[in-house]
């Protein structure tokens, strides 16, 4: 199953990093998250206030967005671009289905193929040296040579937190808000501390995903945008030898 490396000129090696299914689910996931974010802000525009607890305490919200403005979130960041809750919901729920099915395809593949164990789980060695990894990262120094063949420990932990933490949390808090699902899965409402708490956590998790996206893009740009983009489009990632090795 593993695809052999290809030797390139000047000692560079092309490594087959991302199998087709990972690339497809990555891009479909990116599309889903974009539509879900924009349609989600459209839905939030209908009542741009968040609360803690089971019901809404209108006089004392946890956060109230865009006081006095006609729309709390402007048209360029919502879907559709004008205020239309009904359309926003249609986009949101269609892409929520797509997002869940796409996510399930990825998770099943990642578990069965051993990707979680071999590629995403940090090695014992990595965990032991997590301190120096953090220091290297803060100096924007990225691994080269053979060390670049695998994800570094921070990358692994971040991907695991997004894949098995934030993304499922979006779905679960979303379902908790459904009055239908609440008749079957009321324990979820209890776990999150009420329907309005679930709605607030849904928003905060989305905000965390936007932060992840910004860091993810910044990391791609600093680590080498051409190589990173090639690997997530074609699968092939090029490893350059260390200066002292060449």
């Amino acid at each position: 199953m593993p695809v052999a490396d290809r030797a390139l000129t000047r000692g560079r090696i092309a490594v087959y990093r991302h199998p087709l299914l990972v690339r497809l689910t990555h891009w479909l996931n990116a599309l889903c998250l974009l539509v879900l974010l924009m349609s989600g802000l459209q839905i939030l525009n209908a009542h741009p206030a968040l609360y803690w607890g089971e019901s809404s305490s209108f006089g004392s919200p946890f956060i109230a967005f865009g006081a006095g403005r006609s729309a709390a979130f402007p048209g360029w960041i919502t879907l559709p671009g004008w205020q239309d809750l009904a359309d926003g919901r249609r986009w949101h729920f269609f892409f929520a289905w797509l997002f869940v099915l796409n996510g399930l395809a990825y998770v099943i593949y990642a578990l069965v193929s051993g990707r979680v164990r071999c590629v995403l789980a940090p090695t014992r060695e990595q965990v032991r040296h997590i301190g120096s990894s953090i220091r290297e990262h803060l100096r924007l120094r990225f691994p080269h040579g053979e060390a670049a063949r695998q994800y570094n420990v921070l990358q692994k932990l971040t991907y695991l937190a997004v894949l098995f933490g934030l993304l499922p949390l979006m779905v679960i808090t979303g379902l908790t808000m459904s009055p239908g699902m609440d008749a079957r899965l009321h324990f979820l409402t209890t776990v999150f501390g009420g329907r309005q708490s679930a709605r607030t956590i849904h928003f905060l998790t989305a905000a965390a995903l936007v932060s992840f996206f910004l860091i993810h893009i910044a990391a791609v740009l600093t680590a080498g945008p051409v190589n990173e983009m090639r690997s997530i489009v074609t699968g092939w990632f090029v490893i350059k030898p260390r200066k002292e090795e060449s």
Partner: protein
């Protein structure tokens, strides 16, 4: 153009840039106005309905709350007073002359006064009302079980939905399609928590909240729970009512199945 060529060119450039920018921005908007896109997006409603119906079955109950959890203020959305001549006359007499008309595909059409409705098997429940906008309020409801009323009227075999016609007109239209109405299917109509509610928090419904009678369909969103119910009809299909989507908000793009 009376301006010099330089200004003319700058104007042209500006308007060209504005056009390109506008096209890029409106691309998204045009996509969301396309009928084919919209009918594709509509599939999600069917998937959600089928999966929820499978998971919930006929009788899974919406959660109920304690008295201490009742909301201090319960927001009223949509119409807060139908304010028609007929409605005002009924309200002035405390709805003593009001009758709930039950008809359509039934063996025994009924006309029920509030007194008579109060004698029908009732249920009291403290439930959470989730508005499609995102907020929630908790209140205590008492009302006649819809299933009992329908059993008294005896549904004919062809009946598949129940339609609720209301006293309020939310949008003034020439064809009368702005009058509030809702439809639910028999699974929701027969659900034990589905009520024709006349009391809210131990008092008769106020005008703001739908006096004299509002529907409670606890496993769906607030817009399904029609206020100011005047007439109930058992029907085979809602295609011929107003714009044919099964409700005032459904006719304006919202899902008929409002379980999410």
């Amino acid at each position: 153009m009376t301006d010099g060529p330089g200004i003319d060119r700058r104007r042209w450039l500006q308007s060209a840039l504005a056009t390109v920018g506008g096209l890029a921005l409106s691309a998204c908007d045009r996509i969301s106005q396309s009928d084919r896109v919209n009918s594709t997006l509509d599939y999600a409603e069917g998937w959600t309905k089928d999966v929820q119906r499978l998971l919930l079955g006929r009788n899974a109950l919406a959660p109920e709350y304690s008295v201490s959890e009742i909301s201090a203020t319960f927001r009223a959305n949509g119409t807060t007073n139908p304010d028609t001549e007929e409605y005002n006359r009924l309200a002035q007499a405390n709805f003593a002359d009001w009758r709930l008309v039950v008809g359509g595909l039934v063996e025994k059409p009924l006309e029920l006064s509030l007194e008579e409705l109060r004698r029908v098997a009732f249920r009291t429940q403290i439930t959470r009302h989730d508005c499609v906008e995102g907020w929630s309020c908790i209140a205590k409801w008492r009302g006649a079980r819809l299933s009992t009323v329908l059993q008294q009227a005896k549904l004919k075999p062809g009946a598949r939905y129940v339609a609720f016609y209301c006293a309020d007109t939310l949008e003034l239209t020439l064809d009368g399609s702005g009058q509030y109405y809702e439809t639910i299917d028999l699974i929701d109509a027969m659900h034990p928590q589905t009520l024709l509610a006349y009391d809210m928090n131990d008092r008769p419904l106020t005008v703001r909240h739908g006096a004299p009678l509002r529907l409670r369909v606890e496993r769906q969103l607030g817009y399904k729970m029609a206020k100011y119910v005047m007439r109930i009809e058992a029907i085979e299909s809602f295609r011929d009512i107003a714009r044919g989507k099964g409700g005032y908000w459904e006719d304006r793009g919202y899902e008929w199945y409002a379980g999410i």
